[in-house]
Symmetry: C2
């Protein structure tokens, strides 16, 4: 028997309900201690009521105070990094090195958001003098965040969604992903202790456990919730979209649902760097066992002199790929079944496979490289669908007409990648133009599986990659998912928020009568 | 028999279908020539297909070229102003002076958007150097715009939605409001001729007529449409939200659905300026026959020494208000029925009424001032609901506790107005804080019925005022409703959009490694 571990409701503990569950070790297939108890309806209501009463206080916190809070969370996570990474490794089978990188990303992105709110210009303050109208971004209200299975740190309890929602000035209620409850509890405690240390109202943060979907559904339907952020499957993401739209008061739902992330190898690129591209592709699609939202799942390759050597290099590398353990047994089962489906279908052929997996309870799988005909790709929808795990599909194309036809037919994706030389870029400007309309991020001669947290990152893309292709869930622009515009007409200096006072006491960059300036307004 | 007038499908004319309708003169109740023919399914498909093929060209137009196009439309409308205003006056009964103001607002807002895109910084270009990632706003795709009955010019065919969607780089398909088809046709021709004169692809603009809702429904469901903009009733706006969310590929829907726009008269304000406030309120709630989305429909008044005089002044002014003609007979009927309902309900009393209306076919109505008890306002939901037309409701409050309770109970509204002196502002900071969470625009010692088109205007507000309280449908920030973020990773100068080139050839303000600057990036 493990300890009873319950939801964190503000500074208090949830009462939980009879349903308990444990994290599972995907390597052994065995449960990990302790047991976690699903939140009760009262736990959720109490978290909601605390968040509601925290909002008026927290939404008015100065940028400096919000920054201090975010930095406190970052420091608390950093100082518990060894314990958190160890637990995450047990619960997810993600390699320690990857998790060390991910935890650094997690506390660094909290610090980046701290910088943004401390500096303060992000609110896009606008002042027009005649008549006196002044607008800025204001926080939206309590946000529901769903932890992601594939990013137990950077997109879970204190991940990008939480960081951006808190930075904008919103209380957050996280629904922990049941695949890593211990990791979630450790990070949750770090946030709770930061709320306490910064003397903030306890409702700024709560963490709910649930073995199933009940708590998540109720959370999205709860009247105090003003926005939803989710990273995960298409089925889960669209279910939340529907719930959010069907509420008596509909709310925005940001679901990041992954994508196939097509790679376009162009003739010049192939002929000049075929070997390097093959190596880079194999690394990218097997990184973290192919469980990135940005994994390249489709590679378009031209028929050139260098193509056979490229394919041989790629096949050899896949053949020597070790077996890898996926996040959960359920994900591994879905992967195996998708691979079997693709293998048995007439329209794709296995070209290479990684090390075989011994029969076991574990979530361990074999990397697979498929090839398919151009014609089949256009006609068989399932070839253009994501398989979560270490596999990709190579499709040959004859000429630019065929390539453009594939690009035009693409649904929304998070990314598209070009492997090209200078000549290709000039020749394929129309391809770039098409892809600009289809994805959130275009990548040249690099791979999609690195997502830098910075001011310009766009981790988004038209549906079905995300629910809302206008925005990003990574980088500082993610903050605008959780704000609304408010303006003040004819207000005197004394009654205006600091960001909008004529004297500009925060020294922020503003749009004053159409000009960007840090100067006071007249 | 009038001329047969059909939809404008790019540069061609629609074939129409058997359903025809005419504009009605609300003053006489008689139809106006000519007959207009509802668009056929083929008309819609052709408009959609033209818009789809125009998008790649139009979305890549330079800011200068888009600016020239918007200015051309503005000039075309300005030069046809007399004819357009005369027709709008016949179709809407709105006074000529109001329509002259509205047409000036219409072409001036096109010119303001021209300025914004010519200057170019609006795309919020962001450059991070290591690794090289660069993001900007890009147009979303063809936008469906629904003309509003209460703004036949500024929120119809070439209104704010069209101007902001075109400015962002999107083709527009307008569904004309059937209450002013002649006005719509005249403005539509001005846009079409501007598309031609600027040598743009014809699909940049189409205009569809329909007597009913069929064309609008199909338009929102059409796969090439990427966003919807609507100003009108709650029923219409929520119907479109549902259609947009239920598509196989859901799209953003911006419905502006009006609101009650509460006015909070505070003790100091009342005692110092009671007479002026009464006069201002009467003007505001009867302006354009009370048919503004921002009409003040609820006024909270304290029990002070000055209150009886204030109420007498307001009542006298309402008693001497002339009768006014509403936009359509249907709107007038709904107004009469709502007034009768409120009059016969036990919870509100008529305090004053304007000039009586002679029995006629016309859409002419009488202004009505109601009073109700504080307790009834909190308990009877219908008292907090909008009645479109020249009426408002005054509710007395005893103390600040009562006032704050009303504010806390408010749903989302477009605006809230305070009538206050300096002492009130200090005493009621908590009221301002509550209202900041409830509305898009807070107004001090002015009236909500003027909506300035500028950089800082926010004409929005939480549901049910709009479908999406994050945004605005008036002012230059409206452009961001029709954009999405795209980033380019490791692209060389030659393959980047001008806005993102290191050399900054457009000279725009950008965020380079976290700093706002017009300088080239390293």
């Amino acid at each position: 028997m493990g300890l009873k571990t319950v939801s964190l409701i503000g500074f208090g503990d949830g009462v939980g309900r009879a349903v308990s569950f444990a994290g599972m070790n995907p390597v052994t297939g065995l449960p990990l201690e302790p047991q976690f108890f699903s939140a009760s309806a009262e736990d959720l209501d109490r978290a909601a009521s605390l968040a509601e009463s925290a909002f008026p206080v927290y939404s008015n916190l100065s940028g400096k105070d919000k920054g201090a809070f975010l930095r406190h969370i970052a420091a608390a996570i950093e100082s518990a990094a060894t314990q958190i990474v160890n637990r995450a490794n047990l619960e997810t089978a993600l390699p320690e090195g990857r998790l060390q990188g991910e935890i650094a990303r997690t506390y660094n992105q909290l610090r980046l958001f701290a910088e943004v709110v401390e500096e303060g210009s992000w609110v896009d303050a606008r002042i027009d003098s005649k008549p006196s109208i002044r607008s800025m971004h204001k926080p939206l209200g309590p946000v529901a965040v769903f932890g992601a299975s594939n990013f137990p740190l950077a997109f879970s309890v204190a991940g990008g969604d939480t960081a951006s929602a808190l930075a904008a000035g919103n209380p957050v209620i996280v629904k922990a992903h049941p695949a890593h409850p211990g990791t979630s509890a450790l990070v949750g405690h770090a946030i709770r202790e930061s709320v306490r240390a910064c003397h903030l109202p306890e409702g700024v943060f709560s963490l709910l456990f649930d073995a199933g979907v009940e708590v998540g559904v109720r959370l999205v339907q709860h009247p105090i919730i003003k926005a939803v952020a989710f990273t995960g499957s298409f089925a889960g993401g669209t279910a939340l979209m529907k719930l959010a739209a069907a509420r008596p008061v509909p709310i925005p739902c940001y679901s990041e649902m992954g994508s196939v992330n097509p790679v376009f190898v162009l003739p010049g690129g192939l002929n000049k760097h075929g070997g390097a591209i093959a190596a880079g592709l194999q690394t990218s699609f097997t990184l973290s066992a192919g469980q990135f939202c940005t994994k390249p799942g489709l590679v378009l390759v031209p028929k050139e002199d260098g193509t056979p050597a490229f394919m041989k290099e790629l096949g050899d590398r896949v053949n020597s790929t070790p077996s890898q353990t996926l996040l959960t047994k359920a994900i591994a089962d879905r992967y195996e079944s998708a691979i079997k489906g693709r293998t048995s279908a007439a329209d794709a052929t296995v070209l290479a496979q990684g090390a075989k997996v011994e029969e076991s309870n574990a979530a361990t799988v074999q990397a697979s490289l498929f090839v398919a005909d151009y014609k089949d790709l256009l006609e068989h929808e399932e070839l253009a669908q994501e398989i979560f795990g270490p596999t990709t599909l190579v499709v040959g194309y004859q000429d630019r007409k065929q390539l453009l036809a594939v690009a035009e037919k693409l649904e929304g994706h998070l990314t598209a990648t070009l492997q090209a030389d200078e000549g290709d870029l000039a020749d394929y400007a129309d391809l770039i133009d098409i892809l600009t309309r289809k994805v959130g991020r275009l990548i040249l001669n690099d791979y999609p599986t690195g997502v830098e947290v910075c001011h310009s990152m766009v981790h988004g893309g038209p549906f079905p990659a995300t629910s809302d292709g206008r925005s990003t869930s990574v980088g500082t622009q993610a903050i605008f998912r959780f704000t609304r515009l408010v303006c003040f007409q004819s207000f005197p200096e004394s009654a205006l928020p600091d960001a909008l006072k004529s004297s500009n006491p925060l020294g922020i960059m503003r749009l004053v009568d159409g000009d960007r300036t840090r100067k006071p307004s007249a």
